[in-house]
């Protein structure tokens, strides 16, 4: 019966769980919290599987996850961390340039972590999850215009990295 069929529930899990975890990580900066809440959201989906239509599952998950996040007793400061990227072997640019590039990346990561939550979440959903504005708007339950605005403000802020080395 729709989501209550394990095959379908499992598909919903494999399709959205990573994005849900990422979304919560962008908000909280804490991987344990992100995994925890993501798990709880899927549990809630299971409990309510008879009441949620398959097409509404994603929206349900993101809404529940957001609510669970808001309800948490403690809101800690955000300390986002990204995986160290592997330098391409083919990159034969001079070492000085590469070092500058690494340095810029490091400062960029810090600046992203310091963005206001609204802007940071939209920015990373677009950059890391590769989501289009329409999809982000749907998942966050805001207008596309609002998504664009947050993205624009994030870039205005991040552009400051170029002033002053």
């Amino acid at each position: 019966m729709g989501v209550c069929e394990e095959k379908i529930y499992k598909e919903i899990y494999y399709k959205y769980s990573e994005y849900l975890r990422n979304f919560l990580y962008y908000k909280s900066g804490n991987m344990a919290v992100a995994e925890d809440i993501s798990h709880d959201a899927y549990m809630k989906l299971w409990e309510n599987c008879g009441k949620v239509e398959i097409e509404k599952a994603k929206s349900f998950l993101f809404t529940i996850a957001n609510n669970l996040f808001l309800n948490r007793a403690n809101k800690s400061k955000v300390v986002l961390k990204f995986e160290k990227s592997v330098r391409q072997q083919s990159d034969t640019s001079d070492p000085h340039y590469l070092m500058q590039k690494d340095e810029f990346k490091r400062r960029l990561e810090l600046a992203i972590a310091n963005l206001p939550e609204n802007q940071r979440v939209v920015f990373l959903m677009n950059r890391i999850d590769k989501k289009k504005y329409r999809e982000i708007a749907e998942e966050l339950d805001i207008s596309v215009k609002a998504v664009e605005k947050r993205m624009h403000l994030a870039l205005v802020e991040l552009r400051k990295l170029h002033k002053g080395v």
């Binding site: 960029l108 920015f123 950059r127």
Partner: protein
Amino acid sequence: MAYDENIYARIISGTLSKEEEAALRKSGEWDEIQEILEASSELQLRAYDKDKGYERLRFSQTPGQKKSKVRRMYYWAGSVAAVVLLALAYVFLMQGDEDLRRAAYGETAQFALADATKVVLNDGSILDFSSFEAGGQRLVELTGEGYFKVTSGDRFVVQTVNGSIEVLGTQFNVRAWGEDIIVECYEGLVALNRGSVREEVAAGESVRCTPKGQIRRTNVTMSRPLWMDGLSRFSDAPLAVVVEEFERQYDIDVEMGVIDRPYSGAFEHDDMENALKKICDPMGLSFRIVDENTIVIEGE
């Protein structure tokens, strides 16, 4: 330069007019933004194991049933016979490469790290030891509150969002809810780091450090934190913090107006009405139990 709104966002969606794009290129903004976009699209998060995640979900109840009131209770199946088998499977599945532990609401969690350091987490707290190496860098990340009995060896660091603690074989308690960090040391010596502040805390001492770096020292006569004996104790804590702790311990919501006065006292974890009295009476407040999920505190 005044542009049509959200112009930077429209670089990504490719909805700029020719004039807008030309203007951005001319001013150099185009290149700057492209550099940011390129660098940021190479960012990656920690890999996600969907199979493992799904396995954890499968140990759950039959569809459509209301979960029992205990939040975050772990994965026990319905029938008794199945429980033992599943428990074993769960232990094998989880123990392997699980790199964090959390204490459910209303419970504590006790375990040992790979170097035999003993940890007890207060309820709602989480310890992430994915960066921990027994013979090398001993680093853990704590959300909430935990008691540590650290085996001697190389530097051991407990990181929290409000500061970090550095030790060499000792016993101490770290409390990092809210914005302050509070360390109580029962044996040995620890150093508390927050921003430019570094404070040593010896056995028998307790130090609280605020976000601004203000330090408050008191003495401590117990050999372990009171919460390990089922009590939460506060001294001059904002009432909101006390109530949050109560909500965590009893897994219940409390509605309360803004009451700014500080609270000093303690409440137990196994008798909710008594606990409420211990909180409300000294403050001249009263409480009302609305239903099994809500309490209202009122007064001045």
